[in-house]
Chain length 218, copies 2
DNA sequence: AAATAAAATTAGCCTTACCTAATTTTATTT
DNA sequence: AAATAAAATTAGGTAAGGCTAATTTTATTT
């Protein structure tokens, strides 16, 4: 079993690895965690001894198979708790991360699976990040937004990046849900506003901010 | 804000104080926590400095007003999480304590209150202990069970001490719920079985174990 | 290539929250 | 009251996980 600190390092390395696919250096980890590089070097030794990561000056830090498994389960717990906090306790989108940061470290053989079931096996967390399943697999991570679609192109809504009630109510009003098809008719160069057609209906104009908040599949 | 360890001491002192109303000595705390008395002395100094407890060789350890407040909120969180684990995640009665032991330390200004609301403001936890309200007040703690009732006496069910599905289903079958009136007609001296009348209906016989699992108000 | 800058590492320290062993204080017997 | 037992306390130590400062290694300029 890993300590709280070890888990935070694993999660951090996992995130850095996902974000860039780049070489992960001690300094990068130090920056990400707000820790001193000297502390990071200590922990790299510890996690290497535990066979959760491997470290090579040229390749940087990499998660081993076990490290990846452990990190994935931390992420699973984090994202499930985020769904819980938002959907069941009525927290706002920007309040849930820090609390989930604590909740994710609670270890019990069946807790994550029970929570998963209780929440109805959600595929994505409130930020649109996929939730790893019990077996470690997870849905595709969507990073393209409506703002990335080319004029004339069409796409399908897969997740939201903003889950404020303001935004969600706005979506409701526009009849946009997960799965809704949207066509980009025009992009106003002045302020990057988007003229879109929702499910083939008459054109509507939305802001750039709006476009960047809708994760889509082309 | 208190550390995890400080919280565990506060909770422990609170429990010892409630259990006996006796003088709480360093050794008593050491025994309860499974720690060395020397460690306890250290922590007593620390908590005294933080004005959460007072310590006097004659009177023993006592919680200050603030210490009581803090301890009560830890207990509140613990018991609310127990209800959640049992009612929402389907855990069994004897699995929830240890998990709640971790969950109780998660601090967020509104988490306990939101959880409380989500659970429907329960008065008692699955062990029949009252859950402190946000203002620190809590319902009466019932410690007498059906097995304590004298022959000829009657009582009202207020909580269950055993929340296994076996027991709960048995209660269902007997039409016993919170509030149900029970009259003790006879006590079989051989094995302490109880002959009872539920809501004035025809007599039924239940075991001593059964009687000890029903918390009642005379 | 040499000089300089940046990154990595080592050495040594700090705090928290434990511990053991030794000592002092307080209670309980005889 | 003296002897003994128990409880409380002190002194010093440990492991985890941070830190700073100094040093070494690696990269980047000039």
């Amino acid at each position: 079993m890993n300590t709280l600190s070890e888990e935070n390092y694993l999660k951090c390395i996992y995130r850095l690895w996902q974000d860039k696919g780049q070489k992960i250096s001690p300094t990068a980890i130090a920056d990400a965690l707000g820790n001193n590089p000297a502390s990071v070097v200590d922990m790299i030794r510890k996690l290497t001894d535990k066979q959760l990561i491997s470290y090579d000056k040229k390749k940087g830090v990499e998660l081993t198979a076990q490290g990846q498994k452990d990190a994935t389960m931390i992420v699973r717990r984090h994202r499930l708790w985020e769904v819980f906090l938002l959907e069941k306790l009525g927290y706002h989108w920007d309040e849930i991360h820090d609390i989930a940061e604590d909740l994710e470290h609670i270890k019990d053989a069946t807790l994550a699976d029970r929570l998963d079931k209780f929440l109805g096996f959600p595929e994505y967390d409130p930020h649109g990040d996929p939730i790893p399943k019990a077996n470690g697999k997870m849905a595709k991570r969507y990073s393209t937004t409506l703002a990335d679609v080319k004029v004339g192109g069409s796409c399908r809504v897969v997740a939201v990046r903003d889950t404020t009630s303001q935004f969600l109510q706005y979506l409701q009003k526009l009849s946009i849900n997960i799965g809704t098809k949207i066509q980009l008719l025009e992009k106003i160069t002045f302020d990057n506003s988007l003229v879109i057609s929702i499910n083939g209906e008459e054109p509507k104009t939305v802001s750039q901010k709006f476009g960047e908040s809708l994760l889509i599949d082309m």
